[in-house]
Every structure is written in C-alpha cells, then in structure tokens.
C-alpha cells in the first residue's frame, strides 16, 4: 500500500483522546482484575471471620500498609513503562521504603520474642500456602493489566512485564489480607513478599511475549 493512501485511510478515524487516557486504561484493567480476585477470596477462600475486629488492630494495618504502598509504587512504575519514551525510571526507591519499614518492625518483633518462638512466628500457620495464594490472586490482576498494556505503548517489555507483575502481586497481597489471619511482620516480609516476587518474575517472563505490539 502506498504511504499516502495509508495516511488518508488512517486519518478517516480520528476520535478525540482525553487527557489521562493512559492512567484510565491502566486503572480500568486493574480494577477488573482486583474485582475478580476479591470475588475469588470471598467465594473460595473465605473472608477471615474476625475481619471487623482485626481492622481495629495493628497487624492488619501493618500488612495493608506494606502491600498498599508497594502497590502504589508498582503502579507508578507501570504507568511510566506504558509510554514509549521511558528514559530513566523515577520512583524506583518508593518500593524500598515499605520493605525497609517492615524489616524494621520485624527486627523489633524478634527482639521482643524469645528465640525459641522465632521459627513458629516466622512460619505462622500458612507459610506453605501463602506465596501460592498470592500468586494465584495475582493472575487475574495481571491479566487485567495485560489487557491495558496491549493497547498502550511499552517499549521495554521485560521491565513493563515485571512492573505489571509486581503491581499484580502487591494488589493480590492486599486482597489476600481479607483472608489471611497471620500477624507477624517477618511472616509478611518473607511469605507475602515471596508471592509478590513470584508474580513479578512471571510478569518479567511473559512481558516480552505478550506485550509486543
């Protein structure tokens, strides 16, 4: 096809684009995925029975504080990587803050607990399931973000995939808090983070294949 003809045919369809279209697209995919994850937790895993009481306690907000701030940091990165001209990524350090804070809480916890109890505290009741459940809940969110990204213009596909995976993992962990009754900081720091990292890895692997355009 002749380039002039191509331009003519492309210019037949020029709908207006609102400001913030990229952000809206990402949030839409994200919201759809998060909704599916919430439904899955409510219907299959079960919301923890003492949720209302737990929401008045410190451990619940420690967990949400960690996962929600990670989610925001990951979204900031994903939004940058959704545009072609990413240049240097800004805000990478944002995701270090919650991790360092949680590690500090974990250290305090260890000091206050007799060493004999450490292993029990670290493994909790559900260390074997926790990372896999976070990863499972991350899948619909990752799919939602993939739907968003496929219409955007990422040029660093592995990084974009990893950022989407990280965001999916962090939001999945946030959703998982509705079910998980664990209270220890080192539990969250290890097993939640492991699930989130797995999701990030899956994203980095799939990004170059599934985000091409």
């Amino acid at each position: 096809m002749n380039t002039d003809d191509l331009i003519t045919s492309l210019s037949r369809d020029v709908p207006p684009v609102r400001r913030g279209a990229v952000g809206r697209r990402i949030l839409l995919g994200l919201a759809a995925g998060v909704l599916v994850s919430i439904v899955y937790v409510v219907a299959r895993m079960g919301v923890r029975p003492d949720l209302a009481a737990a929401m008045h306690g410190f451990p619940f907000w420690m967990k949400w504080g960690y996962t929600i701030s990670l989610s925001i940091g990951a979204l900031v990165m994903a939004a940058q990587l959704a545009r072609p001209e990413t240049g240097r990524l800004r805000g990478l350090w944002l995701i270090a803050i919650p991790t360092v804070l949680l590690a500090g809480l974990g250290a305090m916890e260890l000091i206050q607990t007799p060493p004999g109890e450490w292993l029990r505290m670290w493994l909790g009741h559900s260390w074997m399931q926790c990372p896999w459940r976070v990863l499972t809940l991350a899948m619909p969110i990752f799919a939602g973000l993939l739907w968003s990204f496929r219409r955007l213009a990422p040029t660093r596909l592995r990084a974009a995939g990893a950022a989407a995976g990280l965001a999916a993992g962090a939001f999945a962990a946030t959703v998982y808090c509705l079910h998980c009754p664990e209270v220890s900081a080192i539990f969250v720091l290890t097993w939640y983070s492991l699930g989130i990292l797995l999701a990030t890895g899956v994203g980095a692997l799939l990004g170059p294949r599934l985000m091409r355009w």
Binding site: T3, L10, V14, P16, V17, E85, R151
Partner: protein
C-alpha cells in the same frame, strides 16, 4: 523543509482533540522524517524502509493516546520508531536460514560443530569486543584484512594489530589453562 518540534506537537495535540485534518497533516510531515531516520540507522533496502515507515505511522496513529501533551513530541515519536525498528529486525531475522547449517549437519555432526563453536565463542568472550570481532572476521568468517577493515570502518593496520593482540591473549589463556 523539516518541520519543527513545536509545529509537530501543535498538530499532534490538535489531532488528539479530534481534528482529523491536522492529524493527517502530522502523518504527512512524519513520513519523510521517519524515512530519513530509518535510512540513517537501518542498513536495508528501500522496501524495508518504507515498510518500517508505514508500520510506525500506524503505531503513531493507534497508540496516539500514549502521548503526554506536556512532553516533547519527537522524543515520543522516535521512541516508537526505535521500537518498531528493533521489532522489525527481530521478526525478519527469524526467517533467515542459519548460515552454513546444512554443511555443519552433513559434514561434521551437529553437536561437535556447535560445541566447538561454543568453545570458540567462550574464548573470544574474554577479549575486548573489537579484537574478538576482528578474529572472528578474518580467521573464522574468512574475510580478508581489507574486507574486515571496510566492514568495521577502521584501518587495515588496526585490524592486524587487533587480531595479533587477541590471538596472543588467547594463546596465553589456553597455555595458562593447561598448567
């Protein structure tokens, strides 16, 4: 005449607001710009370049929502152009036959040949890139010194010196490894 950043950006924003005429004008201005961009960077035929130009124009059109009105337009444009170029070569290279594969398979047995090549590749990896490239060109790919020099855009004596130094390092490494 080359269009300026301000002019292109103005047309782009007007197109984003739904002005189809300005959008068409933008794409018309971009075509020669992209042609020059690819001609300078991609060492390929006219058809290839026109394909790339068209692919990029389509991308500019379909992904126009990812342009942020507050940022430089040409940075956005060339980021897309670069991505399309890499993607294009990745795709086309996949369809090219691996050089000499038939010979390797029939004459020596595939595994021997590949492991020998891997050994050579490992060895060459310890050298500075230029020395490795020159040894590969003159000793493995069978180019003459003059051809290798022309291919890399350096002088013939530079080629000879690189090969000599590289081989010396390799010999030292292999002898050292035996001891």
């Amino acid at each position: 005449m080359r269009a300026s950043e301000d002019e292109l950006r103005g047309l782009m924003i007007s197109g984003l607001d739904g002005n189809a005429g300005d959008h068409a004008a933008l794409l018309r201005l971009l075509a020669p710009l992209l042609r020059a961009f690819y001609r300078y960077r991609a060492d390929s035929g006219q058809d290839d370049i026109e394909d790339l130009v068209q692919e990029t124009l389509i991308a500019v059109h379909t992904r126009r929502g990812t342009y942020d009105r507050d940022r430089t337009f040409t940075a956005w444009l060339f980021a897309i152009a670069r991505y399309k170029m890499i993607d294009h070569f990745r795709r086309t290279r996949r369809h090219q036959p691996i050089e000499g594969l038939e010979e390797i398979l029939t004459i020596e047995g595939f595994e021997d040949a590949t492991s020998a090549r891997m050994d050579v590749d490992d060895l060459l990896e310890i050298l500075p890139p230029k020395q490795a490239r020159m040894i590969r060109a003159t000793r493995l790919d069978g180019l003459s010194v003059a051809e290798a020099a022309a291919a890399d855009g350096i002088g013939e004596s530079d080629v000879k010196v690189s090969v000599h130094r590289g081989l010396k390092t390799l010999i030292a490494r292999i002898q050292g490894g035996r001891r």
